[in-house]
């Protein structure tokens, strides 16, 4: 189908809205100071913490969100639709609301926090939990979509060949789902990497423990805008690597 030419105008404007701010950021970068700024102790510590926590929370998303996606896509019970909508909640909530919610649930005065008797706020685990909260829907939604389009016909065939439920899951469903899992993982990782609001509200901000790269950027811009811009650039580069390089591979997966 040939597109009406007029469609290109808003399409290009839409693209510009996404890309131009990044160019604006590039324009503001102090290239001479850049190497020193992105390799400062605080920057490296924040970068390392961000990578670790994002990887951890992506793993938690996969271990919990994967089964959740299966239940949402393949089961049938009353209230399933409501459940499916609730899963999207972190997508539409401001992250800081998520952070406050976590604080009042798992903080020292939260009912679950008191019940479990654990001190989560101000720990790296709290960062992982906050990131998991905001990133989980990305994994669940993309996995659920993949599960729906994959259909159940291959699984039915596998069952008629004598394969039990776990064998079907392990040898048919999951391999067929790998592209969906890949893109879900990439999206969840990218979201976790960029998480700010829930982290600052729930986990606080302490170098080496809870101050991830976005928190470091937010802090640096108070005192040293150049440093904030340099770290922003770092985050942009990482994000581009993740979504441009990793995602198509993950999506194409088996093909």
């Amino acid at each position: 189908m040939t597109l009406p030419r007029l469609l290109w105008v808003p399409a290009l404007l839409g693209f510009a809205v996404i890309v131009l701010p990044v160019i604006g950021l590039l324009d503001r970068v102090e290239w001479a100071r850049l190497p020193a700024l992105v390799t400062s102790d605080a920057a490296l510590s924040a970068l390392g913490l961000s990578m670790q926590t994002a990887a951890m929370s992506t793993l938690v998303c996969l271990l919990l969100g994967g089964p959740l996606a299966f239940v949402l896509a393949r089961s049938d019970f009353r209230g399933l639709r409501v459940l499916r909508s609730l899963v999207l909640l972190p997508l539409v909530l401001p992250p800081v609301v998520g952070g406050l919610a976590l604080l009042y649930l798992l903080g020292r005065n939260g009912f679950l926090g008191q019940l479990l008797g654990v001190q989560l706020p101000y720990t790296t685990a709290a960062v992982v939990l906050a990131q998991t909260f905001v990133a989980m829907p990305f994994l669940v939604v993309s996995l659920e979509g993949a599960l729906r389009t994959a259909g159940e016909r291959y699984e039915a065939v596998a069952a008629t060949l004598g394969a039990g439920r776990w064998t079907v899951l392990r040898r048919v469903t999951i391999p067929l789902l790998l592209p969906g899992i890949g893109s879900g993982v990439v999206l969840a990782f990218a979201r976790a990497l960029g998480e700010f609001g829930a982290t600052i509200a729930f986990a606080g901000s302490l170098q080496g423990t809870t101050r991830t790269l976005p928190l470091e950027i937010y802090l640096q811009r108070e005192s040293d805008v150049d440093a904030a811009v340099a770290l922003s650039l770092l985050l942009v580069v990482i994000a581009i690597v993740v979504i441009v390089v990793a995602r198509p591979r993950a999506v194409e997966g088996l093909r």
Partner: protein
Amino acid sequence: MKRMSVLLSLLLIAACTSGPEKREVTVFAAASLKDAFTELEKSYEASHPGVDVRISFGGSSDLAQQIVNGAPADVFASASPSTMDTVAKADLIDGRAEVFAVNTLRIAVPQGNPKGIRTLADLTKPGTALVLCAPQVPCGAAAKQVAMAAKLTFKPVSEEPDVRSVLGKVAAKEADAGLVYVTDVLSAPGKVEGVDFPESADAVNEYPLALLKKTGQAQLAREFAELVRGQAGRDVLTRAGFGPP
């Protein structure tokens, strides 16, 4: 006939509100000034009929960045001399900035002071969850100063990017204590209590105010600055917890 007069008066009202008489003064003020400046805005508007004061509250460095990048402000009231310098370096200040208030640190503890904190040294007790501002922001720099003066080493569980986050953590009882400004403690009655400490005198935070160039309302802006610096302003600021310069 009666209906006609109602219609006429409605038209008159409409004409008045959209008339050219309407004038505006735009003030950029540090977030900690919110209560005090909101009160001053009211008294200014009462004595200046037809003038609308619009105040944008925010972090001082954010506001400074916005002004440098062309935001239309007539007055800038900052929480730190360094952020005011940012604006001064961009040659945007009309005249010079003057300190109009000072703010000092106070220990904030949750209502009832569950950990029984009495002195600055109590903050270093093991098992006390202390939250500070990060050293990069003014309240954190001040906390660092008092620690050095008292020869104490704080081990905070978190270094927040702004003072309101510290206050929030204490108010939510997720921290046993925090170092905030006197004004912050006063702004959250019933949630937090303040504990004074003598070392606070070593870290006095100055609040400069400046008129900005490129303003179309120089006279109105000057009158607002005079209100802030005058006795009426002094009273309001004192009630909010600010000290005199």
